[in-house]
Symmetry: C2
Subunit: 206 residues, 2 copies
DNA sequence: AGTTCTCCATACGCCACCGTACGGGAAGTC
DNA sequence: GACTTCCCGTACGGTGGCGTATGGAGAACT
């Protein structure tokens, strides 16, 4: 009789018990993702999250089998967000503009918008690994497609996409761990332009 | 009468008790650094390390005040290694060659030779923060000096050094978390050359 | 040979977190 | 208004790691 997993989307019906509303599975997943953004995978911990949500473990273990199930749900939510982002970016028709938009986002997007760095650090985790693998492949393929639009041959396009992605990873990690190193204020804009210039189509290639 | 901290270098004298030798403070620090290279800061844990060293906590708490003291010692050891590396690299007179050597090292140096990524992830830790700050500043300044030797004006040299350092951070993290993404075999060499080319002196700059 | 010092083993209490058992209150159902 | 179902509170046992207390074996000293 454990774990009803009550469709979870239909639950919009139930009016929540008087006074305090009742939590959904998604509420937990959202909170977990948020915690992971802020403090890494270790922050996905049942009891602390319960307190943060103003409830107890009792709620959690009704909605989820165990902690890994929560991590899974949080990452599914992240994948959905990531896909939505890529879809949004794809609506920019000019590929060069699209590239600039991505660079801009890497530097000034919301702090920890991307948990790729966290996932890379925890890539050994059995739940994390597959998610990381999938999203990363998608993103690099996406970047490669963009580069091909810019006129690069497929092989170079992929190399370049990989490089840009690694640069983004580096930026994200530095933003998280040593943000004071990044140029601030008006120097920030100049630096962004400089990086965009650097990530232009390669000049030479065998 | 706690914590003798017995000079620790003079202890080469004592012939070790018959049979099993006795551990030094440095043995602990070395093991801690090693563990951190492999599995991050969380792997610096007293009891697991004790088992790994074939001893018990009793040994540890004789040599160290607490876990943070061990982290400190491990990071001091890392700083020493880092300084030695930079000194070794500085012996390469041709700056371009020196740059290539560093890129080479970023890609094919021993796995986890650099724990910068780990420290960036744990930059909030009170012991980690200062070490990260110091070494990072040194390295970027070092790279900036190299770039000035290559003819860049100081401002650009620093920008470029920061960028190269972030790229190295990205590479290190990917090597740790998703090495399969990096080109393997003979493609690896081509890719390295391509990255070196990318990190050449910038073509344009305002 | 006795004493002192060095280094470690063991046992203990504490805390944080995981997962389970079980009970119970409130909403809906008949 | 009983009854069921949903959702949660609470208590419990287990695990892993931190730090302390204390004893004790061997080496070194005298």
């Amino acid at each position: 009789m454990r774990n009803g997993v009550p469709a979870d989307n239909v639950r919009t019906e139930r009016p929540a018990r008087t006074g305090r509303r009742t939590l959904s599975r998604d509420d937990w997943a959202r909170a977990a993702l948020e915690a992971m953004r802020e403090s890494g995978l270790g922050a996905i911990a049942v009891e602390p999250l319960a307190e943060r949500l103003g409830t107890t473990k009792g709620s959690f273990y009704w909605h989820f089998k165990d902690r890994d199930a929560l991590i899974h749900a949080a990452l599914e939510m992240w994948v959905a967000e990531s896909d939505a982002m890529m879809a949004a970016a794809a609506r920019i028709t000019d590929p060069a503009e699209r590239g600039r938009w991505l660079t801009e986002f890497a530097f000034t997007g919301p702090q920890g918008a991307d948990i790729t760095t966290t996932l890379l650090v925890n890539s050994q985790h059995p739940v994390v690994g597959p998610f990381l693998e999938r999203v990363t492949q998608e993103r690099i393929a996406w970047g490669a497609a963009l580069n091909e639009e810019l006129g690069m041959p497929p092989e170079v396009a992929r190399q370049h996409a990989l490089t840009a992605w690694m640069m983004a990873v580096g930026i994200a990690l530095v933003r998280r761990g040593a943000p004071q190193l990044l140029p601030q204020g008006d120097e920030a804009d100049a630096y962004k332009r400089y990086v965009m210039e650097l990530l232009r189509p390669p000049r030479a290639q065998a």
